[in-house]
C-alpha cells in the first residue's frame, strides 16, 4: 500500500469517524437468540444467555424485517447491549469466535463494524455507561451456573475512553448486571452477605459510586425470591428487575420493582398482570417499558418458546400485541436508541497513592438485627477480619469501642472486610461477613452494624472523633487463618 | 412637734453600738414626715399560714425568693433550682439540667410585657420564657458578674445587681450597660438589689446606700447614710439608716430600704425619710433580708420573722420558742397586742416575701409559707393618699 493510499484511507477514516451515522429516531436495539440453539456444556454464563448465533440488531420503525441492521456483524455471538446517553453508540458483549472469550464491543448506533473495547483476560460482560463516557462492565465472565459464587468472582470495572480499565468492586462474590442510575451511582447484582459460606447465596441489589466507593445495599435483601437480575431504573423512579426462585433460572423469571423512595419496603410486581418468562425489561423515554416475554409455552424455556418484545404502559392490564415478534428468533432484549440526560458524575475522593481507607461507625450497637443469643450487652470491642480462602478468615485486629459505641478505623483498602462486635467477655454479639471494602483514601461512615436501611444518622457527635483512628494492617503476619463463622 | 424621740443604744457582740433614732408617737397624727393616720387603711391581717417543705415537693428546704406572676403562677427560687406551683398544687422543679444557669436562684422578676421570668442566680442571669431558659453570664454577655443578687425589669431593661456593678440589659437593642464606681455615683460596685421607681431606677449598693438613676438624663443621685456609720444612727429620719443596703423596694412613691441595721422609708413626693430599728420601734429585727412593697405597705423579711407596716401601723409575725405562731400588733393610739396564732411561719428566717391584697407568700430558710388574710380583701393601700 502506497503512502498516498494510506493517507487517503486515513482521511476517509477520519471523515467517516466524524460523520458517524446515527440511528433513525425511534429505533430500537434488539438482541435476538436463535430459537433452536443448542445449549453448550461447561461454558460461561454468557454462552448460556447468548448462544452461538445470537446477535444485536438495530431495528428502525416500523420494525419490519426490511428495516433491520445487524450491529454485531462479524461476531459469532452477541448480546447484553447498552446505548450510550447521547444515543450514538451501542455497547454490547460479543464473541469473535466460538473459542474466543466474551469482550465488550461498541458500534455506532447507525451501523458499522463493531470495535473491540475491552481486552480482559477472563472476558467481560454487562456493559453500562456512566457519566463522562465511563464504561462499566463485569469481569471475568462467570462460568455457567456460577452466577452467585465463583472461585474468582466477577468484579465491576470502569474504563474511560482510551484508558486502561480499573477495578471498582472488591467483594467476595460476583458483581454483575450493572446499570447506571440517574444520580450517577452504579446499581448492580451481587450476593447478599451471609454468615456461613456454605449457605446458598441469594442475590440482591447494591450500589457503588463510579469510583467504587460507598458500597451499599440498595434493595432485595431477603424480601422475596432470591434470584435477581437485570435491574433498570424507570422514569417514574422505580427500579425494575427480573426475579425468580433459585434453581429456576432466568426463563421462568418475572418482573418486579421497588420504589426508589423506599426500596426495602416496596418490592412488588412490576406489571399489573401476572406473567412469567420475562427475559428483560428496559425503560423508554415515554415512561413505558419494553419487555421481552415468552408467551407460547407454559414451560417457558427459551429453547422451545419464542420471546417477543412488548411495549407495556403503567396501567396496562395485559400484554398487548408484540412490538417485535420474529418466530425464528427469541427477541430477548430491546431498548430505544435516543439521546437521554447523562447521569450525574462523581468527583472522586480516592487517593491512589494511599493503601488505606477510614471508616467511622457511629454506634456499633445500633443494629436492625438482634445480637447473638439475645445478648443485650453493649459491644466492648470490634474485631476486623478479611477472607482467607473458603470458609476461612484472617483477623486484622480488635479495637475497643468508645462508650457511645463509636469507632474509627483506618483499614487496608480494596479488600473485603468483615466485622464482629464482641462483648466484654469476648463473646460475639454481631457478625458481618466480609462483604464491604474501602477504596484508597476513602472516608466513609455507617450508622451501626447491620444498620437500618435508608436511614440518616442521628445528629450526635461520636466520641470516637475525639481521638484518632485505630490503625489495622493487613500483613502476612496479621494472624493465623481461622474459621470465618463464629 | 408632737413626736417623741427615743434614743436607743444596744451593744452588739462585737461591742459596737448601734444607736438608732426612733420615732414613735402614741396617739399622734402625722406631721410633715408622717402619713395621716386617719387615711391609712388597716394592714392585711393574716389568719393562718399554710406551710410547704420538701415533703410537699419543694426541691429544697431553703427558698430564696418567691414571686406570683401576672398569670397567677407562683414561682420559687430555691437553693435547688427554680420551682413553679402547678394548678394542682404540685411543685415542679427546673434545674441546671434544664438550662437554668445555676441551682441557687436568689431573685426573680417578671417582664410583664412578654411574660418572661428573669432569674438572678449564683452563676449568671437566666431568662425563663415559654418553658425555656436562656442564660447570660459574664463570659457570654455583657453581664458584669456571674453572681446576681437582684434582678428587676424596668421599662424594657433588665437590671441585674452583681458584685461588679449593676448591669442593664436593654431587651430590644440587646445591649448592656454597666454601672459601677467608675461611671455612677457609687462607693463601690457591689450591688444587691434593683427597684423600679417612678421614672427612675433605684440601685441598692452594698456600703453605698441607694443610687437613683434617671435613664432620661443619664444622671445619678446617691442617698447615703447621713452619719456615715452603719453602727450608729445619729441622724434619724434624715436619710438611709445605713449604707449597707440589702434590698430596696418601691411603690406608690415610697422607697423602702432594707439593711442589716434597720429599715428606711423615703417618700419621694416630699423627699422625707423615716428610719426604724428593732427594740425601739416595732421593727422585728434589724437584720432585714428583703423588703417587698405592695401599695404603701411594706412586707419586711427578717431573720426573726416578718414585719408588715405602712409606716404607722405594724404587724409582726414571729415564731415562738415552741414553734407557735405569734403576731404582735402595733396600732396608733393603741397598746401593742400579742396574739398566738393557730399556725406559724415555716421558719422565722424569712428571705423574701410576695404579697397582694389577698395573700402573701414567704420564702424562708426552712420552707415556704402561704398566708391567707382575714376578711374581705383590704382596699389597696395606694388608693388612699395620706
Amino acid at each position: 500500500m502506497s503512502t498516498r493510499t494510506c493517507i487517503i484511507l486515513g482521511a476517509v477514516a477520519l471523515v467517516a469517524a466524524g460523520c458517524q451515522p446515527k440511528a433513525p429516531g425511534g429505533s430500537l436495539v434488539l438482541t435476538q437468540t436463535p430459537v433452536q440453539a443448542e445449549p453448550l456444556q461447561n461454558t460461561t454464563l454468557m454462552d448460556v444467555r447468548y448462544p452461538h448465533g445470537s446477535r444485536v440488531l438495530l431495528l428502525a420503525p416500523p420494525f419490519g424485517r426490511d428495516s433491520v441492521l445487524e450491529l454485531s456483524r462479524g461476531l459469532v455471538a452477541a448480546g447484553d447491549p447498552c446505548v450510550s446517553w447521547d444515543g450514538r453508540w451501542v455497547y454490547f458483549a460479543g464473541k469473535s469466535s466460538d473459542e474466543a472469550i466474551w469482550q465488550i464491543y461498541r458500534v455506532n448506533s447507525g451501523g458499522g463494524l463493531p470495535e473491540l473495547v475491552t481486552r480482559m483476560p477472563g472476558g467481560a460482560m454487562g456493559p453500562a455507561i456512566a457519566a463522562h463516557g465511563q464504561l462499566v462492565f463485569s469481569s471475568p465472565v462467570p462460568k455457567a451456573g456460577h452466577l452467585s459464587a465463583a472461585q474468582e468472582p466477577a468484579a465491576l470495572y470502569g474504563q474511560m475512553p482510551g484508558h486502561e480499565p480499573y477495578r471498582l468492586t472488591f467483594g467476595p462474590d460476583n458483581a454483575v448486571d450493572a446499570t447506571v442510575l440517574r444520580d450517577g451511582r452504579i446499581l448492580y447484582v451481587s450476593a447478599r452477605a451471609r454468615d456461613n459460606y456454605r449457605t446458598p447465596k441469594s442475590l440482591g441489589l447494591f450500589t457503588i459510586n463510579n469510583d467504587g466507593t460507598e458500597v451499599t445495599a440498595y434493595a432485595c435483601q431477603g424480601d422475596g425470591a432470591d434470584f435477581v437480575q437485570r435491574p433498570r431504573e424507570l422514569d417514574d423512579g422505580r427500579i425494575a428487575f427480573l426475579t425468580a426462585h433459585s434453581g429456576e433460572g432466568g426463563s421462568m423469571a418475572w418482573a418486579e420493582s421497588v420504589k426508589s423512595a423506599a426500596p426495602f419496603a416496596t418490592r412488588g410486581s412490576l406489571f399489573k398482570f401476572g406473567v412469567v418468562g420475562i427475559r428483560s425489561v428496559e425503560p423508554t423515554a415515554g415512561g413505558e417499558v419494553l419487555a421481552s416475554a415468552e408467551t407460547r409455552s407454559g414451560l417457558g424455556r427459551s429453547m422451545t418458546g419464542n420471546a417477543k418484545i412488548f411495549r407495556v404502559a403503567a396501567g396496562d392490564a395485559s400484554l398487548s400485541t408484540p412490538l417485535v415478534d420474529d418466530p425464528l428468533w427469541n427477541s430477548i432484549e430491546a431498548m430505544g436508541v435516543a439521546e437521554r440526560p447523562e447521569p450525574s458524575g462523581h468527583t472522586t475522593a480516592i487517593m491512589p497513592a494511599s493503601h488505606y481507607g477510614t471508616v467511622v461507625c457511629l454506634n456499633v450497637n445500633d443494629s436492625s438485627e438482634p445480637a447473638a443469643e439475645g445478648n443485650l450487652a453493649p459491644a466492648a470491642e470490634l474485631r476486623v477480619f478479611v477472607p482467607d480462602g473458603p470458609g476461612l478468615a484472617r483477623t486484622l485486629g480488635t479495637i475497643p469501642v468508645d462508650a457511645d459505641g463509636s469507632v474509627i478505623l483506618r483499614l487496608p483498602a480494596d479488600v473485603p472486610l468483615g466485622l464482629e462486635t464482641l462483648d466484654a467477655q469476648g463473646h460475639v454479639l454481631r457478625h458481618q461477613p466480609p462483604s464491604l471494602w474501602l477504596r484508597p483514601g476513602e472516608n466513609r461512615a455507617c450508622i451501626g452494624c447491620h444498620e437500618p436501611r435508608n436511614h440518616a444518622p442521628r445528629n450526635i457527635r461520636p466520641l470516637a472523633t475525639m481521638h484518632g483512628p485505630a490503625h489495622l494492617e493487613l500483613t502476612s503476619q496479621t494472624s493465623a487463618a481461622h474459621a470465618a463463622t463464629p | 412637734m408632737n413626736i417623741r424621740h427615743i434614743f436607743s443604744c444596744r451593744a452588739f457582740a462585737n461591742n459596737a453600738l448601734l444607736c438608732t433614732l426612733i420615732l414613735w408617737s402614741r396617739g399622734s397624727t402625722g406631721a410633715a414626715t408622717t402619713p395621716t393616720v386617719a387615711a391609712v387603711p388597716p394592714l392585711p391581717r393574716i389568719s393562718r399560714f399554710e406551710n410547704f417543705g420538701e415533703k410537699d415537693g419543694l426541691p429544697s428546704h431553703k427558698v430564696h425568693s418567691v414571686l406570683k406572676a401576672s398569670d397567677g403562677r407562683l414561682w420559687l427560687g430555691t437553693t435547688n433550682g427554680l420551682c413553679v406551683r402547678e394548678p394542682n398544687g404540685a411543685f415542679r422543679r427546673y434545674g441546671p439540667e434544664d438550662g437554668l444557669s445555676h441551682a441557687v436562684v436568689l431573685s426573680m422578676a417578671e417582664d410583664t410585657e412578654s411574660g418572661d421570668l428573669w432569674l438572678a442566680t449564683m452563676q449568671g442571669l437566666s431568662r425563663f420564657s415559654g418553658g425555656k431558659f436562656t442564660t447570660f453570664t459574664q463570659t457570654n454577655s455583657g453581664l458584669p458578674n456571674n453572681v446576681v443578687y437582684g434582678v428587676a425589669v424596668i421599662d424594657g431593661t433588665v437590671w441585674a445587681a452583681t458584685p461588679a456593678g449593676a448591669g442593664a440589659y436593654h431587651i430590644r437593642s440587646k445591649t448592656w450597660k454597666i454601672f459601677d464606681q467608675n461611671n455612677a455615683d457609687m462607693e463601690e460596685p457591689w450591688c444587691y438589689a434593683i427597684a423600679p421607681g417612678s421614672g427612675v431606677v433605684y440601685i441598692g449598693v452594698w456600703a453605698g446606700g441607694i443610687v437613683e438613676y434617671d435613664p432620661k438624663t443619664g444622671s445619678f443621685k446617691a442617698y447615703r447614710d447621713p452619719d456615715g456609720d452603719f453602727q450608729f444612727q445619729l441622724t434619724p429620719n434624715s436619710g438611709p439608716i445605713a449604707d449597707i443596703t440589702s434590698w430596696v423596694a418601691y411603690q406608690d412613691g415610697i422607697l423602702w430600704q432594707a439593711t442589716y441595721f434597720g429599715l428606711s422609708r423615703y417618700d419621694t413626693k416630699d423627699a422625707t425619710w423615716r428610719t426604724w430599728v428593732q427594740d425601739k420601734t416595732p421593727l422585728v429585727s434589724n437584720f432585714i433580708n428583703t423588703v417587698f412593697a405592695h401599695g404603701r405597705v411594706a412586707w419586711i423579711a427578717t431573720d426573726r420573722g416578718v414585719s408588715v407596716t405602712d409606716g404607722i401601723n405594724w404587724d409582726n409575725y414571729i415564731v415562738g420558742e415552741n414553734g407557735q405562731g405569734m403576731v404582735r400588733t402595733f396600732r396608733s393610739a393603741q397598746d401593742p397586742q400579742t396574739r398566738t396564732m393557730s399556725t406559724a411561719l415555716a421558719n422565722g428566717f424569712v428571705l423574701a416575701i410576695w404579697a397582694d391584697d389577698h395573700e402573701a407568700w414567704f420564702a424562708t430558710s426552712n420552707g415556704l409559707s402561704h398566708a391567707l388574710f382575714d376578711g374581705p380583701p383590704s382596699p389597696k393601700a395606694s388608693a388612699s393618699n395620706p
Partner: protein, 657 residues
C-alpha cells in the same frame, strides 16, 4: 577612556539600582513583618492591607432589579392576589381569573411579607429593608400608615383578639417579635424570639400565634442545635411556649391546620455533628416537616425520599379542610403535596420509638406524599385561595406565580410579573446558588447552608485526610467580595476555586459546577452586600458613646498607661478597614486538639454582629466569648487590660461594623 568611564558609571548605576532593589525588597519585607507581625510572609500584594475603598466592590455598585415574588396574600373572595416584590420596592395586585397584574404600588423598604385583614380592606406589608410595617388600603392601593418594628421584618400576620386587632411581626434581624395594635397602629410589645424569626401562623382561633425561627441555636460547641418555634398570645404578646425543633434549621415556613390541632413547620434536619464522610442517605442534611400540637409535642417526619431529595423547604400552606399540606422546596423547584389523612393515620399508629426514628427514616415519606408538583425556579412563598381550590406558588427566580388547580394538582396558569432577568449574570448566579442539582441527588444547595448568603450558625466537620478533625464554622458570604482568599485555611484564592472542584469533592460529591455556572455563582456571591446589623433608623447615624468608646479601643495603639500595643496585636492590624481584614493567615491561639494547624484566614468583620458563632470552629457563641473564654496570652488582640465595660463597648462597636 570614555568606555572606561561608561563602564564605571554603568556599573555604579547597576550597583545602585541593585542595592536599591535589594534594600527596597528588604525594606518591604521588614515593613510587612512589622506591620503584619507575621514572619516570613514573603512578598505579598500591597493591596492586602492598603485596600481600596468599599465603593469599588461589586456589592456597593448599582445592580439590576427584578420582579421576584416574595410574600403573597389572597383576598377573602379569592379573586385578587397581592404580591410583594421586595427587589422592586413594590406590591403588585393581580386578578386571579385573568392572571393579569392589574395594579402596582411603590412601597419603599423591600416589601417582603404580606397579610390581609379579615375583610380584605387593608393589606399589611412587612418592609424588610426599612424595618417597618406599612398599611395599604386595597381599594385605592395606597399606603395609609406605617410603623417601625425590629430589624428586617420578614412576615406579618393579622388576627383578632379579645383585646382588639393585632399584627404579629417576626423581625429576622433583631431576633424578636413585634406585636402591634392595628387601630391605632402601634407596637405594643417586642418579645425575644429564637434566632431569625422568619414566618408566622395564627392558630387556635387567634389565641396563639406560632413563629418559625429560621436559624438554629446550640448551647455549646458540638451540642445538638435546635430551631425554636415561638408561641405567643397575640392579645398581649406573652410567650406561651418555646418549642425546640431538634437538629432543625432553615425552619422557614409555618402553617396552621386547625382541623387537626397541628401547626406544621417546614425545616431542614441538619446533621452537622457527624463527620461529612458522605452525602448519601441524607448524611449532611435532609428536608422535612415538624408537626407541633398545642401541647408542645413535636413529631418530625421527612419530606425527602430514600433516593430523592427536596431541599430548602420554605413556604407551607394547609388546605382549609386539613386534608392536604403543600410545601415549596426552593432547591428542587418542586411543591410537595402531603396527604394529611395518611400522615395522621401514620402518626396515630406509630409508636413513640417509630416517631422518634421518623426524621432519620428516609423511606417513610412515600406513605404520605401524594404528589410532587414541578415549578419554576426557586419557589418559596405559597398561598391558598380561601376555598382551597387554587394554590399560588411564588416562583421567585422566574418572576411568576404558578397557579395550581388543587383538584387535579395540575397547573392552571401563571401570573407573569417580569422577564425572568436571564440577561443578568447576578440573577443567573443566584439560580445556581439556590439550585440543589449541583449536589449528589440534589440533596442541598448553596443556600441550604447560606440562607440569603449568610451563615447558618453551625459548624461542620468536613471530610479531609482523616475523619473528625476538620470542624469548621460556617462563614458568611455577605460582603465577601474582595476578602479573598477564602476558607478558614485560606487555600482558595477565588470563589470559583472555592465552589468548584474543591466543593465537588468534599461536599457536593458529584460533578463540579460547570464553568459558566460557576462564574455566574461567583458573580452573585460578590454582589451579596454585608448584612445590616443596626436598625434602619440608625443607618448613617453617629456612633453611640459606648460604640465610640469601643471604636477607640479597636483602634487603640497604646494601653491607657501609655504602653504601646504591639502592632501585630492591635485589632486594626489584622482586621484592617475598610474590609476589616488584611486577608492574611494568622494565629490567634485557637488551635484545638483536633486542628492540624493553628493558623487561619483572617475573617472580615463587616456584619460580624450577625455571624455567630465565632472563631474557626465556632467555639465562641458570642463575641464576648472570644475574649472572655478563648483568649490566650493576648494573642487575639491585647485584651488583658480591658475592663468588662470596655469589652462591652468593643462588642457594641463591632456590632455596628
Amino acid at each position: 577612556m570614555n568606555l572606561k568611564r561608561i563602564i564605571v558609571v554603568t556599573s555604579s548605576l547597576a550597583l545602585a539600582v541593585a542595592g536599591a532593589t535589594v534594600g527596597g525588597l528588604s525594606g518591604m519585607r521588614e515593613h510587612e513583618r512589622i506591620r503584619s507581625g507575621l514572619p516570613n510572609l514573603g512578598l505579598v500584594s500591597c493591596m492586602k492591607c492598603h485596600e481600596r475603598g468599599l465603593d469599588s466592590l461589586p456589592w456597593a455598585k448599582p445592580r439590576p432589579h427584578h420582579d421576584s415574588p416574595d410574600g403573597i396574600a389572597v383576598s377573602p373572595d379569592g379573586r385578587t392576589l397581592f404580591i410583594a416584590l421586595s427587589d422592586r420596592d413594590e406590591v403588585a395586585e393581580a386578578d386571579v381569573a385573568s392572571l393579569a397584574v392589574t395594579r402596582r404600588l411603590k412601597v419603599p423598604g423591600g416589601p417582603f411579607g404580606l397579610a390581609l385583614d379579615t375583610a380584605g380592606n387593608r393589606l399589611f406589608v412587612a418592609c424588610r429593608n426599612q424595618d417597618r410595617i406599612a398599611v395599604i388600603g386595597t381599594r385605592d392601593l395606597k399606603e395609609l400608615d406605617s410603623v417601625s418594628v425590629g430589624i428586617r421584618p420578614t412576615a406579618v400576620a393579622y388576627c383578632r383578639t379579645p383585646n382588639g386587632e393585632r399584627l404579629i411581626v417576626p423581625n429576622s434581624g433583631s431576633d424578636d417579635i413585634s406585636v402591634l395594635s392595628v387601630a391605632p397602629l402601634l407596637e405594643l410589645t417586642r418579645t425575644a424570639a429564637g434566632r431569625e424569626p422568619y414566618s408566622v401562623a395564627v392558630s387556635d382561633g387567634g389565641r396563639r400565634v406560632y413563629i418559625a425561627n429560621r436559624m438554629s441555636v446550640h448551647e455549646r460547641l458540638l451540642s445538638q442545635p435546635a430551631s425554636e418555634v415561638t408561641v405567643l398570645d397575640p392579645s398581649d404578646g406573652h410567650v406561651l411556649n418555646r418549642v425546640d425543633l431538634q437538629s432543625a434549621h432553615l425552619a422557614e415556613g409555618v402553617t396552621d391546620v386547625p382541623v387537626r390541632g397541628w401547626v406544621i413547620n417546614s425545616m431542614v434536619r441538619v446533621r452537622n455533628l457527624i463527620p461529612i464522610t458522605q452525602v448519601k442517605d441524607g448524611w449532611v442534611m435532609s428536608s422535612g416537616i415538624a408537626i407541633t400540637r398545642h401541647d408542645g409535642s413535636v413529631t418530625q417526619v421527612p419530606l425527602d425520599e430514600a433516593n430523592a431529595y427536596f431541599p430548602d423547604p420554605s413556604g407551607i400552606a394547609a388546605s382549609p379542610d386539613g386534608r392536604r399540606a403543600y410545601v415549596a422546596s426552593g432547591g428542587a423547584d418542586v411543591v410537595t403535596v402531603l396527604d394529611l389523612d395518611r400522615l395522621g393515620a401514620w402518626l396515630d399508629h406509630a409508636g413513640e420509638a417509630e416517631r422518634g426514628d421518623a426524621p432519620e427514616n428516609m423511606a417513610l415519606s412515600y406513605r404520605y406524599v401524594a404528589a410532587r408538583i414541578p415549578t419554576g425556579c426557586n419557589p418559596q412563598h405559597l398561598a391558598l385561595s380561601p376555598d382551597g381550590s387554587r394554590l399560588f406558588i411564588a416562583e421567585r427566580l422566574d418572576d411568576g406565580i404558578l397557579v395550581v388547580d388543587t383538584t387535579s394538582l395540575k397547573p392552571a396558569g401563571r401570573i407573569i410579573l417580569g422577564d425572568r432577568g436571564l440577561d443578568d449574570p447576578i440573577r443567573l448566579g443566584e439560580r445556581v446558588f439556590t439550585r440543589a442539582r449541583y449536589s449528589f441527588q440534589g440533596q442541598f444547595s448553596c443556600r441550604s447552608c447560606h440562607p440569603d448568603g449568610h451563615v447558618d450558625g453551625l459548624s461542620y466537620d468536613f471530610d479531609g485526610a482523616g475523619v473528625g478533625d476538620n470542624l469548621l464554622a460556617n462563614r458568611s458570604l455577605c460582603g465577601v467580595a474582595g476578602t479573598e482568599p477564602f476558607k478558614w485555611n485560606g487555600k482558595n484564592p477565588t470563589l470559583q476555586y472555592q465552589d468548584g472542584p474543591r466543593f465537588a469533592r468534599v461536599l457536593m460529591r458529584t460533578d463540579e459546577i460547570p464553568q459558566p455556572q460557576l462564574d455566574q455563582l461567583a458573580t452573585y456571591i460578590k454582589h451579596l452586600p454585608p448584612t445590616r446589623t443596626v436598625p434602619w433608623s440608625r443607618v448613617g447615624q453617629p456612633l453611640t458613646p459606648s460604640e465610640e468608646r469601643g471604636r477607640k479601643l479597636f483602634f487603640a495603639t497604646r494601653r491607657p498607661d501609655g504602653t504601646p500595643i504591639p502592632f501585630a496585636r492591635q485589632c486594626q492590624t489584622c482586621h484592617r478597614p475598610p474590609l476589616f481584614t488584611n486577608r492574611l493567615m494568622t494565629s490567634v491561639g485557637t488551635q484545638g486538639a483536633q486542628d492540624s494547624s493553628g493558623v487561619f484566614d483572617t475573617p472580615h468583620l463587616i456584619g460580624v454582629g450577625a455571624m455567630a458563632p465565632y472563631l474557626h470552629d465556632g467555639r465562641a457563641r458570642t463575641l464576648e466569648e472570644i475574649w472572655t473564654v478563648y483568649q490566650k496570652d493576648d494573642l487575639h488582640g491585647v485584651s488583658s487590660y480591658w475592663s468588662k465595660e470596655q469589652l462591652n463597648d468593643l462588642v457594641e462597636y463591632l456590632k455596628t461594623i
